[in-house]
Symmetry: C2
Subunit: 378 residues, 2 copies
């Protein structure tokens, strides 16, 4: 991969970005390769591929060359800022093996744009998104046999960015490590496309105005795990996160939320909360909105929606379907919401919109439908 | 340290706590010892002592034996939950070298109680606080020459707790590492006891009802660093964190905030925000409140205080002093607050209450005043 650096790249390099053309590759010897798990036995995020990508940064020298090397433990100083002040962020994206044998990424530009905005908010350095995508593509190529031969599974890609400098001052990091792991994954929920039940309890708040709820920071996740466990103890699968005195719906588990309903005029409407800083700007969310707007068959609305509205629509039988959307699960239907000591069963009207979304997205992912969102890895 | 385990301890051990009596010690060889920095050159959290304490846990086997060994890098799987979902927490406490030569901790029971409540909220396992304090005391004894021979410096102790299992599911950790680092530190602010200027901007919110602002989680810190940098770019030293439409004062930087003022009846009043879930229950905060209540010289009130009240008191010349309080700095006076395009200069009425607090706390820390809060390390 070490080629002569074109002059154009040199210019960029001067301002500090790393380049794909500087990528160093240390490939596993045959005895370092790991056996691949059976596709039927995949658990989300448990099995890792043979290689990883790393790019280190420090404030004096800027970015080092990107390196792909055998998967290995990180050596971190126990005072590293990531371990104390949660200066860390990540992305979630996937590579798919198409029915035509071609490997594809889904809208990697969107994940990289979000990663850069999160990096800025986290006081971590930025980089050139296109160069990063080239490095990720190369990593997938090297571990291409890890992309499941299955149209219900995929290779989950986890770009991660952590502050590594060993100093306990609460301050901007001077050292950081950007790295990418990959995991073959099956359906996110072991229950498959089976609808999930939600706990909605306004006493727990995931994010708030003036905070970082729209950023893919590690800090947004730690506080949710205890609440997720509470919901499981009460027999539910995920948390429906509410905000404000009017109990606005924000996210479901780690997904964006969509409601398909009849409005008061009897018109079909797809509703999802707006990008007001409280929710993550999901790539799947954006894609479903864009698909639905292209279809022009029903109204598509980004607006605040409250539990009172959901209950009224439920009582008036105007609720057609509720589902979560995210990279891990793509689309996940909701069967019920437990809220203020009542259980609301959510219908799933046929034909199901979430099923249709899943089919269209899968057709794009697995190359059955040619679409600019699916980016070839060659 | 490996002694026979008394039967009482065995009982505790069955329910999973680690024991001081099981502590394993691997002491540095002479060539592994590091030179100690000059006391005048200390920077907060930059120099670490020769040894660290570690206790590992997993959900199957429970706690392993505590181990003190030479300071070393951690080997972490790059998929460790701490690096992705910020499942991490810490404490900050200090050891002081008394004028009588005796080493003392300050209220370690309070730090451990807070650490345990944060661990529970973080889905991390709990442990026996007394056993942990004994292990920490032993660590200080081993590195006792690192406790500065100075009554303006101290040994900062950083208990840290991270989730280490290599799995990307957003779920309770099955593996974790509790560890303790120590750093000789001088005054937290290089400006010493020099008053600091604050930026108060209601568009940035540190914590919120239903969140984890009262927990010492890493997740509370990452989002603040960018804002802290904004305040520095505007020429200020720290952020005054506001909350709500009425711009309540919550914390200052990483400290609790205190206002000493005349109330509308002309009576002297020490005011600090209440423990309503938005602020950290500081050990220094508690100690200052307890001291002031013992003195019985002025009113001591924990209540919500808004910027409007501060401004009115400022205009009516009823503001005597504002200061931050925390383990790192003990007490830190505020010189000014920049808020809504105005700069409010904060007086410092003599005799200064913050100076008096600092003197009393220092007398306790350095053994000039015998006090139950100061715990001998022997």
């Amino acid at each position: 991969m070490r080629a002569l650096t074109p002059i154009g790249n040199l210019m960029t390099k001067l301002v500090g970005d790393f380049q794909y053309s500087d990528l160093e590759e240390k490939i596993c010897t045959p005895d370092q390769l790991h056996p691949k798990p059976d596709t039927s036995a995949l658990v989300f995020g448990k099995y890792f591929t043979d290689h990883m990508l790393e790019v280190s940064w420090d404030s004096k020298r800027g970015w080092a060359n990107p390196v792909i090397s055998p998967m290995h433990n990180l050596q971190l100083h126990p005072g590293a800022k990531v371990l104390h002040y949660a200066i860390e962020l990540f992305e979630g994206m996937k590579a798919y093996r198409g029915e035509d044998g071609c490997l594809r990424l889904f809208r990697p530009d969107r994940n990289m744009a979000r990663m850069l905005s999160t990096a800025e908010r986290s006081s971590l350095p930025t980089f050139n998104a296109d160069e990063m995508i080239k490095c990720i593509k190369r990593l997938v190529q090297i571990d291409k046999e890890w992309v499941p031969y299955s149209t219900t599974s995929s290779l989950y890609i986890r770009p991660t960015f952590i502050a590594t400098d060993p100093s306990l001052g609460v301050a901007s990091p001077n050292e950081a490590l950007l790295y990418v792991l990959m995991c073959p994954v099956g359906p996110y929920f072991t229950s498959g496309f089976k609808p999930i039940s939600l706990m909605a309890d306004p006493q727990y708040v995931r994010s708030w105005p003036g905070g970082c709820g729209a950023m893919k920071m590690g800090a947004n996740y730690a506080p949710t795990i205890y609440i997720q466990k509470q919901s499981e103890l009460l027999g539910h699968q995920q948390v429906l996160w509410l905000y404000g005195e009017d109990h606005q719906l924000t996210e479901v588990g780690t997904m964006n939320i969509f409601l398909f309903m009849l409005n008061k005029n009897g018109e079909r409407e797809l509703v999802t909360p707006p990008l007001d800083g409280l929710i993550l700007p999901g790539v799947t969310r954006l894609s479903l909105l864009e698909l639905a707007r292209e279809w022009k068959e029903f109204q598509v609305v980004e607006r605040t929606i409250t539990m009172a509205e959901v209950i009224q629509a439920h009582e008036e039988k105007r609720l057609l379907e509720i589902f979560g959307a995210g990279t891990a699960c793509v689309v996940c239907p909701v069967s019920s919401i437990s809220y203020q000591s009542r259980e609301y069963n959510i219908p799933r009207t046929e034909p199901s919109l979430s099923q249709r979304f899943l089919k269209t997205m899968s057709d794009i992912h697995y190359g059955r439908l040619q679409h600019p969102w699916a980016v070839d890895i060659q």
